[in-house]
Amino acid sequence: MLFKVQSAANSGLEALGVDIEISVSNRGLPGFDIVGLPDKAVQESKERVRAAIGNSKIEFPQRKITVNLAPADIPKEGSLYDLPIAVGIMASVLQYEIPPNSLFLGELSLDGKLRHTKGAVLMALFAKEQGFQNVFVPAESANEAAIIQGVNVYGIKNLTEIAGLFLGKSFLRPVAYQKKEELTEDIEFDMAEVLGQETAKRAVEIAAAGGHNILMIGSPGSGKTMLARALPGILPRLNEEESLEVTKLYSIAGSMPPRGSLITTRPFRSPHHSVSQIGLIGGGQKPQPGEISLAHRGVLFLDEFNEFPRSVLEGLRQPVEDGALTISRSKERVTYPCRFMLVASANPCPCGYLNHPRKPCVCTPREIKKYRKRASGPILERIDLHVEVPEVDVEEFRGNQKSTSAAESSCSIRERMSEARKIQETRFAEESIYTNAEMKNAHIKKYAALSKEAEQMVLRAALQYQLSARSFMKMIKIARTIADLAFEQQIGKEHMLEALQYRPKIYELD
């Protein structure tokens, strides 16, 4: 007897159809083999399937079972073929019809239950594109798959349930997508809690509004990390397209929680500086998305920027520019998107107290030079806003509670950010970009018109501060965002002047 069950394999964010052929033969010695370039996890599926079927009170056929995963030339990994294999084998015993036009995936537990499986949303999307009607996934992953409208997603709890369904003994409704209650508590730090730092806050707002990369330089404890952590709270929510992109990535990376739904808040990733290049960029034998891809459409926060190994940081250059990264391995090539906002923080010198109002700096000029050289120049060049986060005199605020309560809350800042993003989306409707930060030179010419005065200012500043051509363009990009925040069509003199405040000052490039 031959049974065919359909499933899918993923290669990066692409899914490919996999036909699973299960032959249950009366001839030959009883046995169970899987062929078709399976990896270790797929091989082990034999044991899981045998035990799961047995423990579901279904007789496991004592025959020669051969499972073929076709096409044989693409590598198949993971435990997601447990369910399709089990469905095929059970069909030989229970004699049910496997519904046509259906896609199966899921990992089995030894007791016959199905476990949460990564990649469900990708499979559902693949099913829709390929015209499948039904998708059978573990109940825990069903909500995630149901994000995709237009296919029937069935959430299966265990093998007994699916057997009963196919035998007509029970009935199961397709899962209706349930949007998870938005957590109102997604604001870790409110901007209003950050004392003082008016300039730095403003810079962070500009960065958030235009998706610009930002470098914050300041002494330990001055509030760099807090500002960065407050960022997710002011970033506008993801739009639908962006949500799906992010959800797909998280699903592939196995980072979706059970019963997870569409991700609507922007990701915030802050890898420790001991991160490896593959951890940051992505890769591995079976290429997995790295931190930069998990920060797609969100924030990648590199705290203590100078402590990251140079080789790791240099790997960021091209992804920062392109917003996507292709990982090439001998067996496959995959492309993961990684359009993130880079937020870096650094100390001004090794001891951290350069320019500190009270503590003296104990670094020699040579040490400071060496320390600053450690930050990668090419990466610094790709950071639009440079801002100092000076030490705050807490005493000044202690007696003066008013000034803290006057600070704007994250919620109201977020509204302004959303407005600014909307302006940008409308502006770039015909382009493939979303934000001002992504503008290339051609876009700048087209969309960032300077008023005469603004142009004079930036030319004058370029001369006086010896701005490089790249810095020059960055200033215009920042001014564009500042003008958007002020709802101005044209970039005025005051926008340009403010942008100049965020030019590289401390970490000047030689």
Partner: protein, 301 residues
């Protein structure tokens, strides 16, 4: 090639010669006679030399005061002697050079060595402007733990007076100050904020009787120069902003900064103006060259 002068030579600086442990031989590069010659030399044997010493861990306050006071003193014609270390030393040399004055660097190492080597530019500038580099060590003798305090006695011994700008509790500048007192030279100290970690040493000196130098006048008076110098002392800088500055906000900013230099955020709070608006105004003033940002604070130029 470095030249040398022995203690017996008539060209040997008179004030330094008074020391019991005066170096037997001094190696030098640069304009010896133009500075030390008793007749016509700018320092006339050391009578017109001011030693300026201080911490390596200079704060923005120390930098500011060095620029202000030393610059004026040098402009008036006093030769500035210091130890060529980074921090206050280097700042004193630079201030003297900027003011068009003469300066002497006393090295803690052999005359053929520049220490610290990344200040080679400053070294060259001192020589190019008719200044002098002096050392009691020949050739490529390295700077060692014990050469620094030995060097300090030359710094103090060469000069008629010594000015301490900033010094922590264990600062090497205090060695120079104590030597100056021992040699019977005048000791000046710039008062420091007591909250600063590099103020303890200066405070101790002031308690022990050093003269307060609150402006260049205090020092110039001692050297016998006409006081009422061209620049007003720092504390008395007027509150009349330069009239050509356009814009009400810009005017207000200048008024505040004339009284007190401050961080941009502090300014925003003081003027109750959003950082965005203030940033634009500050940029404008910077482009106009009215204010400058140094070590995180805004100053009126």
């Amino acid at each position: 090639m470095a030249d040398s002068i022995t203690k017996e030579s008539p060209r040997y600086p008179t004030l330094l010669g008074e020391l019991r442990d005066a170096p037997k031989q001094l190696y030098y590069r640069g304009n010896w006679d133009g500075i030390f010659s008793v007749e016509g030399g700018s320092a006339s044997g050391g009578e017109k030399c001011l030693a300026v010493v201080g911490t390596r861990r200079m704060t923005s306050y120390g930098k500011r005061m060095t620029e202000q006071i030393v610059g004026e003193v040098a402009a008036a014609g006093v030769t500035v002697v210091s130890g060529f270390m980074y921090g206050i030393d280097a700042e004193a040399h630079k201030a003297a050079l900027r003011a068009g004055g003469k300066t002497i660097a006393v090295m803690p190492c052999g005359i053929d060595v520049v220490h610290p080597e990344y200040q080679a530019d400053l070294y060259q500038e001192i020589l190019d402007t008719g200044g002098l580099v002096v050392s009691e060590y020949e050739g490529t003798h390295p700077a060692l733990y014990w050469t620094f305090p030995r060097r300090n006695r030359i710094v103090a011994g060469l000069s008629k007076a010594t000015l301490v700008v900033e010094a922590g509790e264990d600062s090497g500048a205090l060695i120079t100050a104590d030597l100056a007192k021992k040699y019977g030279r005048k000791l000046f100290a710039v008062p420091n904020p007591l909250t600063s970690a590099v103020s303890q040493g200066v405070t101790r000196l002031l308690k022990e009787g050093a003269t307060i130098a609150s402006s260049a006048d205090d020092i110039l008076k001692y050297f016998g120069f006409r006081t009422r110098s061209r620049v007003r002392p720092y504390s008395q800088v007027g509150s009349d902003p330069t009239p050509q500055i356009a814009g009400e906000l810009e005017q207000k900013i200048m008024q505040v900064l004339f009284k007190e230099s401050m961080q941009i955020d502090a300014l925003a709070r003081k003027l109750k103006i959003p950082a965005a608006q203030l940033g634009a105004a500050i940029s404008m003033l910077q482009l106009e060259g009215c204010i400058t940002e140094e070590q995180g604070k805004l100053y009126v130029v």
